[in-house]
Symmetry: C2
Subunit: 266 residues, 2 copies
DNA sequence: TGCGCGATTTGCGTCAGGACAACGTTCTGG
DNA sequence: CCAGAACGTTGTCCTGACGCAAATCGCGCA
């Protein structure tokens, strides 16, 4: 609900185009240096000159923690690549319940609604920590992809792997107990945003029990209970909006189905 | 497990190329006439000549009911477009449980694993009724998309809308009761494969309670109970591997959350 | 340093829905 | 026409997870 204080991509662009006294940086500073994106998967296969051409239309925008990059239902006027930070992508059901769809990590393309023939963003993206993203107007997408087919191919792969993830999640929700789903969710988070510390792997951004509940289709109460039990067994280490996996291997075994949670039997 | 008796796409192609006494049809018959695919969304934007070029590499294959088009885990050596019939796409969990991922309707592209950078099919596709599909070797995909960028764009939209559907399903499973999920599943099926008959809308292919259970993450027992209750209330009409929606509107209301199932309270 | 709010923990009651079991019904093949 | 199998229906029991509610903790801010 805290509507972002950050300007949207198009507002930036409009300001750039219309402001009569164009400042030095705005007129001549390349929006982004290609070194920061040269090895992103999305741009694999593009030469330096081509990269510059693509980046010429981009703007770099900073999103403070808890600000929204875009809102569910808003007109999809831009697409993005995350450079730094982490975003939480969430959907709200007609009944008002929120669901965390996924987290975006640096290097990922997101908000490509226009490429999927959507006129509006299907979800809301919120900065979980201070973040920086590149941003292009949606109108640039057809032009860029027709000129650089590898962009479309790479985007297709990205969307495809996202589809795989989402289907995996459907399967988890169909076939697994809550405890296994939570384990899977944490492992996935650690995998894509884990930071190795002495006592294990820490998830690199603030995440509440509520967030985990919204990722796994359960309630914060249940998540809290599960994490408490795991903490007693030395599997994880909790804290305010903080989770450390102390024994990812054992957690994985638990996620896979064996290793009963509490039961004495077996 | 009934491994299809149908030849795979590549076996067909190999047979075509290597069989010494090439028969008349095999050597000269165009694999498919463009009239049968001219108005498929996938090929929107291609001229007749281009269409012919794309179709030149395709083969048309018939899949009898219950035969597999491809198996989960098999090498992804082809991609397909369904011309006629209906396919059930299912995944098997490591624990052996099966999940129905979706149904494929005529006109849809499927099995594009290669485009998503997968070497193996992530799911199994089985003909729910006798079906016919066009089939291209996976190797043709990069060539075709680089020559006809609209193909990639269209595929991206297809995969994107599939992603939307899957996410919608995740949200349903997170936030809805079993009964609502079953209602949603039936409405979706009716929507994409419904046939209007006197008493309502019939789902156009054989579908068992087990199948519905695998779509909604529940058990066939629960599905059976729910359908029985609905039948008593005149919402649906059952039968062996057959479901007719007699009152889609009321079913929709039920799926949306209001209209309690049984409760007497108000 | 003390206050206040949001995050977290935890106990308890309840119930939807899964497990088990038995039976009825409709196809299929000989 | 009959046997057998696959599909579907129903009843009973039981458990895991949700809802409610209250206590507690920890961080940020003044």
């Amino acid at each position: 609900m805290a509507s972002g204080s950050a300007r949207s991509c198009l507002e930036e662009a409009a300001a750039l185009g219309s402001a009569p006294p164009v400042s030095y940086e705005e007129s001549t500073m390349p929006p982004v240096d290609r070194s920061v994106v040269a090895d992103l998967a999305l741009f694999a296969g593009l030469g330096p000159a081509e990269l510059d051409e693509v980046l010429r239309e981009a703007r770099s925008i900073r999103y403070p923690k808890d600000s929204a990059v875009f809102h569910q239902g808003a007109e999809a006027d831009a697409f993005f690549v995350l450079l730094h930070g982490h975003l939480r992508v969430e959907k709200t059901t007609p009944q008002g319940q929120q669901i965390v769809v996924r987290y975006v990590s640096p290097g990922e393309i997101f908000g490509v609604a226009q490429a999927l023939a959507l006129k509006h963003y299907p979800a809301t993206a919120v900065a979980a920590v201070d973040s920086i993203a590149l941003c292009w107007p949606s109108a640039a997408w057809p032009r860029l992809t027709s000129k650089f087919p590898s962009l479309a191919a790479n985007a297709l792969q990205t969307v495809g792997s996202r589809l795989q993830d989402t289907q995996a999640r459907v399967i988890e929700m169909s076939s697994e107990q809550v405890e296994q789903r939570v384990a899977h969710a944490l492992l996935r988070l650690a995998n894509q945003a884990g930071r190795k510390i002495e006592t294990g792997v820490e998830i690199d951004f603030p995440i509440s029990r509520q967030d985990v509940a919204e990722m796994t289709g359960t309630t914060l109460h249940t998540v809290s209970r599960i994490l408490s039990a795991w903490e007693q067994r030395g599997l994880v280490e909790g804290g305010r909006q903080r989770i450390v996996l102390r024994d990812p291997h054992k957690l994985f075994a638990l996620a896979e189905g064996r290793v009963p949670s509490e039961r004495s039997g077996g």
